[in-house]
């Protein structure tokens, strides 16, 4: 009896600690527009403190609605939402002081300079960062006195990022942070987001780029048709639910296919000299093949072993049912 009680207490404490460890907790979240379009249909979501979570999903999947509810821009129809222990719908000032929002296409007064904009928009936070430091971080430090209206598209996005982090928030929402960036600006932003993670910030980002999710996120959530349809680390998702590796090569001329030791349980596809098969055990299946080939000095042309990428899995997951 005593042991059981103790176990229960320990388990309860563990659960409470896990709760406190969560930056975002969502249960059964629903939201519809005009009573007709079901944008979110019972979403559950946990984001740990210090975690970088990427939310993927096709346009119209409910990503924006989800993020806007978490930011306090919209009220949910039903469900529990807790962000940093607050109900975002209450839109308390104390809550807004702890989050940073980087949305695409949010306006800003064009006649302000970059430095003035950062100083002005961070003034309401309890502990704003120095404007010069923030502009340095996003790579605008060399031109603090440029007017906002004179910034290029990419520079504007960097200023958006600067405004999102200028208040030194604990939780940062990034809405497609690198859409429209050139490759070097994109790399720079990735470094910046990694730097934010290293500072212990919790980051929720939405993106269309699989490589971005793979590069930045600790965990990925895929949303489609108002539901979370998959979640995991970029690697586990990439491996997919039981997705096998694909082995492919060309049989050289003068080699009879029958001479090669094929794996017994794999379904082999052959189109003339092109051979491919899917296997969960590529090492075991390739070993006899490669040994035989090497012994007989046969070169298996264009030999590849590939795993489905996050992109493949994503496309497969979000495909509209026929």
């Amino acid at each position: 009896m005593l042991t059981n009680d103790l176990e229960v207490t320990v388990a309860a404490r563990g659960a409470a600690a896990a709760e406190q460890d969560l930056a975002i907790r969502v249960r059964g979240l629903r939201k519809s527009y005009d009573g007709a379009i079901q944008a979110l249909d019972g979403v559950d979501l946990d984001v740990r403190r210090g975690e970088v979570l990427a939310v993927l999903g096709p346009n119209g999947a409910g990503k924006t609605t989800l993020v806007e509810i978490l930011e306090g821009h919209r009220a949910a129809d039903a469900g529990e939402v807790s962000v940093l222990g607050h109900d975002p719908a209450a839109s308390e000032r104390a809550f807004r002081a702890r989050i940073g929002i980087v949305l695409q296409e949010d306006g800003i007064d064009g006649s302000l300079t970059a430095r003035e904009a950062v100083e002005l928009y961070s003034a309401a936070y309890p502990h704003p960062r120095a404007a010069a430091e923030v502009l340095d971080l996003v790579g605008l430090g060399d031109r603090p006195d440029i007017r906002v209206s004179a910034l290029s598209g990419g520079q504007r996005r960097r200023l958006d990022l600067a405004l999102g982090i200028a208040g030194d928030p604990e939780l940062v929402f990034l809405d497609e942070p690198t859409t429209g960036f050139d490759p070097s600006a994109r790399r720079h932003s990735w470094e910046l987001i990694s730097a934010l993670r290293d500072l212990g910030k919790t980051i929720l980002l939405t993106t269309h780029y699989m490589d971005e999710a793979q590069h930045l996120a600790d965990r990925v959530v895929v949303i489609a048709r108002g539901n979370v349809i998959a979640e995991g680390t970029p690697d586990t998702l990439g491996r997919g639910a039981g997705e096998a590796a694909l082995v492919a090569f060309r049989i050289p001329y003068g080699v009879a296919a029958d001479e090669l030791p094929w794996p017994a349980d794999a379904e082999i596809e052959r189109r003339e000299r092109h051979v491919s098969f899917r296997t969960h055990t590529p090492t075991r299946d390739l070993a006899p093949l490669l040994t035989r080939a090497a012994e007989n000095d046969i070169e298996l042309e264009a030999l590849t072993v590939t795993r489905p990428t996050l992109e493949d899995v994503y496309l497969q997951l979000t495909e509209e049912p026929a």
Partner: protein
């Protein structure tokens, strides 16, 4: 409802300065609020050949500019406080500037308060500039005895026009609608409010309509303080009362309408831009 703290007042001051800076750096606002009224002053003067007119009573001859300078001043004030607030707020909403503010700990009341205060200060500045030219160049008189009433009318008028402007701004669904809404409400009312023509010969029904709007009261109360031969302080309590009531109505409507959730994401500005381009 909590009382504003000292840091909130500092925040308001900071945003107020920023709003005035933004206004002064915006070309359209500078042209319409500062330059255009000065052009009007010079044009009117040219058309009238800077005529002297006989004033009522013992005031003797006064320049014609004595009568139209206060009216042009109120025109300038309306441009700064009413028209520019409507266009500015609608544009800010359309470009998702208001949404940005909503995502920060800056209270919307401080943000909008700074907007109104900034518009009022800019308008008052434009009026001061107008008189700074009209007094030495065209011989317009500013009377010390009526100056307090003139200043109070100007300040209350600025508050009234900007708060009514904020309320009207909530009617505009897009920035495109804001300019016609601002002009179509301001221009007809300005014609019946005594800015361009004196109302003395107007039929009663027109005067009644004019008096239902705040502009006539602002024009009347302000013009009176520059009227030659006026005695006493030239206070217009009835007009000031109407101006105060309109200020309250404007603020009430604005605060009631200013809490709405933005539309569905599908109806966001991005879509609208695409449709317009198509």
């Amino acid at each position: 409802m909590t009382l504003p703290t000292r840091s909130d007042l500092a925040l308001l001051g900071r945003w107020l300065r920023a709003r005035v800076t933004i206004q002064l750096r915006t070309g359209r606002a500078v042209v319409f609020t500062f330059a255009f009224p000065l052009v009007l002053l010079v044009l009117f003067n040219g058309l009238n050949g800077n005529a002297k007119v006989d004033a009522v009573g013992a005031a003797g001859q006064v320049p014609f500019a004595q009568f139209y300078t206060p009216s042009i001043a109120i025109f300038s004030l309306t441009t700064a406080c009413y028209t520019s607030v409507i266009i500015g707020i609608a544009t800010a909403r359309d470009s998702r500037l208001l949404k940005r503010v909503r995502g920060t700990p800056l209270p919307m009341s401080i943000y909008l308060g700074a907007w109104l205060g900034g518009a009022a200060l800019t308008g008052i500045l434009a009026v001061v500039l107008l008189f700074a030219v009209a007094v030495p160049v065209f011989g317009v008189h500013v009377y010390l005895s009526t100056l307090p009433a003139a200043v109070v009318t100007l300040v209350l008028g600025a508050a009234c026009l900007s708060s009514v402007g904020l309320a009207v701004a909530t009617l505009a669904k897009t920035a495109d609608q804001a300019t016609p809404i601002a002009q179509l409400t301001f221009l007809p009312v300005s014609f019946i409010s005594g800015i361009w023509f004196p109302l003395e010969g107007a039929p009663d029904w027109l005067t009644t309509i004019a008096k239902a709007f705040p502009l006539e009261h602002i024009v009347h109360a302000f013009d009176r303080t520059f009227s030659p031969g006026v005695t006493g302080g030239a206070w217009s309590p009835h007009d000031l009362w109407s101006i105060g009531v309109w200020t309250a109505i404007g603020l009430f409507v604005a605060t009631r309408r200013f809490s709405a959730e933005p539309g569905t994401p599908e109806q966001g500005p991005r879509r609208r831009v695409l449709r317009r381009a198509a």
